[in-house]
């Protein structure tokens, strides 16, 4: 079986290191994520997963390493050429470690969600989605002047944005709450709204930090369905951090395991589940026969 993350990656991380003072949170990590795949990033608490996410999305500037990303093909020769130049991108291949956070979202089209939900609580559900459509809208609004004058081009852009946002609200079952403040929605709805907001960026890569955290079994099942559907539509690849192994095993095509900031395993879910190093990392001792660990990795453990 040929793996998409080797043949046709959308993201390639090379020797990424992130240090905070004396603490090395991510240590020389390299991996690829395949185009159209759901790639899961797993590992015990403190393994550096969220730090790695923060490097990808421009939240942190990595200490060293390279993050190449492309919506087209990630061609090695072109990546090398771009790395030698001082540029951030050549129109198709992006070097994320050189870009500011809003550029990564706008130009490379990486979207992310957070472990602790970060909606804009005082703004309505619809407006939360429309923030992510600023790229198209602000061009049409021309410093708000076209908006003030009510020019037809702006009205059309605004209407298109409202339609897209409404379609997403419909899809996550929140259409009837479009005008309610996002902060007033129940927890599970906020989680889905955050994913919908990220999707309104029309991302090529959607990075989800523990999307199933705090959800009950039915909700996390629904979430897995939603993510699968997003993946199957083919526009968006997914990279997710997840502790709920049932979700990971059900939807991911590729699993990367981190421990203490280093990559310890990388492969198809089935291979990773049986990897002794992974089992040891989850248990903390070298005892692959421990039934609890096997249960965790098989996706049956209580969360």
């Amino acid at each position: 079986m040929s793996a998409r993350w080797i043949d046709d990656p959308i993201l390639r991380v090379d020797h990424l290191t992130m240090r905070f003072g004396g603490l090395t949170a991510v240590n020389d990590v390299s991996f690829s994520a395949g185009r159209g795949d759901v790639t899961a990033l797993i590992g015990p608490n403190g393994a550096g997963k969220t730090t790695l996410f923060n490097c990808l999305t421009g939240f942190y500037k990595p200490t060293s390493g390279r993050i190449a990303f492309s919506s087209g093909r990630l061609d090695d020769a072109r990546i090398e050429k771009l790395t030698r130049s001082a540029r951030k991108h050549d129109g198709e291949i992006f070097l994320l470690e050189r870009m500011a956070d809003h550029e990564i979202a706008r130009q490379a089209r990486l979207a992310r969600t957070f472990q602790n939900i970060r909606l804009f609580p005082g703004m309505s559900a619809l407006e939360n989605l429309m923030i992510a459509q600023g790229r198209e809208l602000s061009r049409a609004a021309f410093f708000s002047i076209a908006g003030l004058l009510g020019l037809p081009a702006w009205r059309r852009a605004e209407q298109a944005a409202v339609d897209q946002a409404t379609a997403w609200l419909e899809r996550i079952g929140l259409r009837h709450r479009a005008n309610d403040p996002a902060g007033s929605l129940p927890y599970g709805d906020q989680r889905r709204l955050e994913i919908a907001r990220a999707m309104c960026l029309r991302p090529t890569l959607l990075c989800l930090d523990e999307p199933a955290a705090g959800l009950n079994a039915a909700e996390s099942h629904g979430l897995a369905e939603l993510l699968r559907a997003i993946r199957d539509e083919g526009e968006t690849s997914i990279l997710l951090i997840e502790h709920d192994m049932s979700v990971v095993m059900r939807i991911s095509d590729h699993v990367v395991v981190l421990d203490y900031g280093q990559k310890i395993a990388d492969g198809a879910p089935r291979e990773v589940r049986e990897d002794p190093a992974v089992i040891a990392a989850y248990l903390g001792v070298e005892d692959p026969d421990e039934p609890a660990v096997e249960a965790v990795l098989a996706g049956n453990a209580p969360t």
Partner: protein, 316 residues
């Protein structure tokens, strides 16, 4: 209910009504300045102490252009004023953009007092810059639009409404409506509100936070320039130290209304304008500034989130 009791001794009702009109006029100007304070505070949590001086600077720009157009080019009062106000808005906006870029942006991630101290420095710089280039004395324009509408007559005192006052209130009203539309309905306004709540998250959704903050300063300066032009029109004089007192009063208005709240800034402006004129009328005009500043102290002690402010939202 206001009832006119004509011929009553001293015309108390007429005096009150006249001061109400004057207070609303002055309050409109304070409200326009207060928006600049409240918007900047909302988006980056900083009190821009130089904003009063930006207002003063804008009045000077309007004055110079107005004199140039009317005295040297012989333009009529109305077109000259419109051009002067427009040019003052553009130039003041440019100034404030430069101030944000040079004095505040780099300090934004620093400790909280750093941009504040920088703002006080910028305030001193602007006041002294204008003193040096324009001299320390009052500069005046010839009176414009002196016509008045007499609202009541026959009493002890005629209540009048000048064309200028109508213009000031009308311009303020139109601008506030346009501004409200921008904040509520356009991508820029949405980006501003998003940055207020969580700037980091807004950036991850493609909002250019630096650009949004810069545009906030530009809009705040443009509104202050309208206030500066109208102030010049109403009072006819301006001097280089005129930034401080109206600036602090507008700041008081923003605090009274609830800093961070736009309708609060306007309401606070009107209230401060009214408190000042009514105090000046009924108590002592020497102490009218004391009255306005007492409001600041009392608000901060007893009602720190102001009339329309929300309780502190946790900033991440």
């Amino acid at each position: 209910m206001l009832a006119f009791r004509r011929g009553e001794s001293g015309g108390a009702m007429e005096v009150f009504l006249q001061q109400l009109i004057n207070g609303v006029t002055l309050g409109s100007i304070y409200g326009l300045i207060a928006i600049g304070y409240t918007m900047v505070y909302g988006i980056i949590g900083m009190v821009n102490f130089a904003h009063g001086d930006v207002f003063m600077l804008s009045a000077f720009i309007a004055l110079l252009i107005l004199l140039l157009l009317t005295q040297m080019l012989g333009l009529g009062a109305a077109p000259a004023f419109i051009v002067a106000m427009g040019a003052s808005m553009a130039l003041t906006a440019l100034w404030n953009y430069a101030i944000e870029r040079v004095a505040y942006r780099r300090l934004r991630g620093s400790f909280r007092l750093a941009p504040l101290i920088s703002a006080i420095g910028m305030s001193t710089f602007l006041a002294n810059f204008v003193t040096v280039t324009q001299g320390p004395n009052n500069k005046s324009i010839p009176p414009m639009w002196d016509q008045v509408i007499t609202l009541t007559s026959g009493g002890a005192y005629d209540v009048t409404l000048s064309y200028r006052q109508i213009l000031i209130v009308a311009v303020t009203g139109v601008l506030l409506a346009a501004f409200w539309f921008v904040v509520q309905k356009t991508p820029l306004g949405r980006a501003q509100r998003a940055c207020e709540q969580d700037a980091k998250m807004a950036a991850l959704l493609g909002v250019d936070v630096n650009r949004t903050v810069a545009l906030t300063f530009v809009i705040g300066a443009a509104l202050a320039a309208v206030a500066g032009s109208l102030y010049l029109l109403q009072y006819g004089v301006v001097k280089s130290t005129d930034g401080f007192v109206p600036g602090v009063k507008a700041f008081t208005a923003a605090v009274l209304g609830g800093i961070g709240s736009l309708p609060g800034a306007v309401l606070g402006g009107l209230l401060i304008g009214l408190i000042e004129t009514l105090w000046g009328q009924y108590f002592s005009s020497d102490y009218k500034d004391v009255a306005a500043f007492s409001v600041l102290a009392v608000t901060l002690i007893f009602m720190p989130s102001g009339l329309m402010g929300r309780p502190d939202v946790e900033k991440v």
